[in-house]
């Protein structure tokens, strides 16, 4: 069942995706989308669903997560729709509604734990190359790590990731 949620378009706009409204469905975006070459994802349809306020269809759909943010579509869109910003807005709303994938969650948890998206699995190679075991980032300074984590807390990231 397709149920339009009129307030949803406002929510998208609030999250930075208002340009979806400019889309006139020409399909230029889909034609150049590398992801659309390999999976059934159609970015044009996602833009239409966003325009119509189809909340369930967008935020529950796996399609929303097939975009690599390569910007090919946005570069070519004749209506100047900021397509990647619309995708980001929809994803933010999906995540706020608890639609998280395990693989993404792991990356987010790494950020909380290490201040980086991955752990340091190459400390030995770093030393071999004459680099410090840990790079001079939050990884090497616990006070800076605490400071960084405060940002994750204030902006609600920790709660989001759970």
């Amino acid at each position: 069942m397709v149920t339009p949620v009129p307030a949803f378009t406002d929510e998208i706009a609030k999250n930075g995706g208002s340009s979806a409204m400019l889309c006139f469905q020409c399909g230029t975006c889909t034609a150049g989308c590398p992801s659309g070459r390999f999976v059934a994802y159609r970015i044009r349809k996602l833009m239409r669903a966003a325009q119509l306020g189809l909340k369930d269809d967008t935020i529950n759909s796996e399609d929303l997560w097939q975009c690599t943010t390569c910007y090919t579509c946005a570069e070519r869109c004749p209506r100047d729709v900021q397509i990647v910003d619309v995708v980001t807005a929809l994803r933010n709303i999906a995540v706020a509604n608890g639609k998280l994938y395990e693989g993404h969650k792991k990356v987010a948890q790494n950020l909380i734990k290490y201040g980086h998206t991955v752990d340091n699995s190459k400390s030995a190679q770093r030393v071999e190359l004459g680099l410090p075991e840990n790079p001079p980032t939050v990884l090497a300074n616990s006070a800076a790590m605490a400071q960084f984590n405060k940002i994750l807390e204030i902006t609600g990231f920790k709660k989001l990731v759970g």
Partner: protein, 274 residues
């Protein structure tokens, strides 16, 4: 001497330290000082992290920008993802006073403030614009005689309306930089196609990401290229993993490593297997 704050990001220092090392050596050889951007974090990643929370992404990026501003230095990145995140965040904060004020309320909680004074640069663009092809040619001690598949990736040039570096459909910056080492950039189909790693695809839908990679590797093979030259550790990771997994063997170099070799540095010092 030109001086920049060196933003390391995640994948280079923690998965391909050779890329970090090569950049340090190459910039030194070209007379550019890279100052450590101490206490920096992930940019944060434009894929998963920005997709989860734009508010977190912006505030954490602003923290990195503020750290550089405190040093009075512009940032140089060695990764398209870091460049994409930090450049876009800086652009938004510099254009929108209200957004900057809101972010500063968060930064105030950790004793920082961002005044909007940090420029974000990509190392390849610094080499092209600030050092220049002629100076690079002079630094080349060993002409590289190889056929290269030059890989721009996505967030180096795009979105082009705010980056304005080169034609996003038919660019030449990297081809010229690679040619400066004596290597030939081989023309190929779909040169600007994404590697597949970005946007959270690699971490959750790895098989789909590999389909992007396979198509790219096949176009590269068909072009006669022997090595891949990238400017992003995440593309680098995707191609390095892909060439093994898919059985389409390639040597994969970050541009800094290619330059290191051309400048006469040893493969071992650059973290490169020849």
């Amino acid at each position: 001497m030109a001086k920049y704050a060196f933003f390391l990001g995640c994948i280079a220092p923690l998965r391909y330290p050779g890329i970090e090392k090569s950049t340090r050596e190459v910039f030194k050889a070209l007379g550019i000082e890279l100052v450590e951007l101490k206490d920096a974090s992930c940019c944060p990643a434009p894929g998963v992290i920005k997709s989860f929370s734009k508010a977190t992404w912006l505030a954490a990026a602003a923290r990195n920008l503020a750290l550089a501003e405190k040093e009075g230095l512009d940032i140089v990145t060695i990764c398209n993802g870091c460049y994409g995140s930090l450049f876009d965040a800086a652009h938004e904060l510099h254009e929108d006073k209200k957004m900057l004020d809101d972010v500063n309320k968060i930064l105030a909680e950790i004793g920082l403030k961002y005044n909007g004074g940090t420029k974000v640069r990509h190392f390849a663009e610094v080499l092209y614009k600030e050092v220049g092809i002629e100076a690079i040619k002079k630094a080349v001690k060993k002409q590289l005689d190889c056929k290269a598949a030059v890989f721009y990736g996505c967030h180096f040039l795009k979105p082009s309306n705010i980056k304005n570096l080169d034609d996003p459909e038919n660019p030449k910056i990297l081809d010229e930089l690679v040619a400066a080492t004596g290597a030939s950039s081989m023309p190929r189909q779909q040169k600007m196609m994404c590697c597949g790693a970005g946007g959270g695809l690699r971490s959750q839908f790895g098989e789909t990401a590999m389909k992007f990679t396979k198509a790219n590797l096949e176009y590269m093979k068909a072009s006669g290229a022997e090595v891949i030259v990238d400017v992003c550790p995440f593309c680098h990771l995707q191609f390095d993993a892909g060439q093994k997994e898919l059985g389409i063997p390639f040597k994969v170099f970050h541009l800094s490593q290619l330059f290191g070799l051309a400048f006469g540095m040893s493969a071992k010092d650059l973290g490169v297997k020849l």
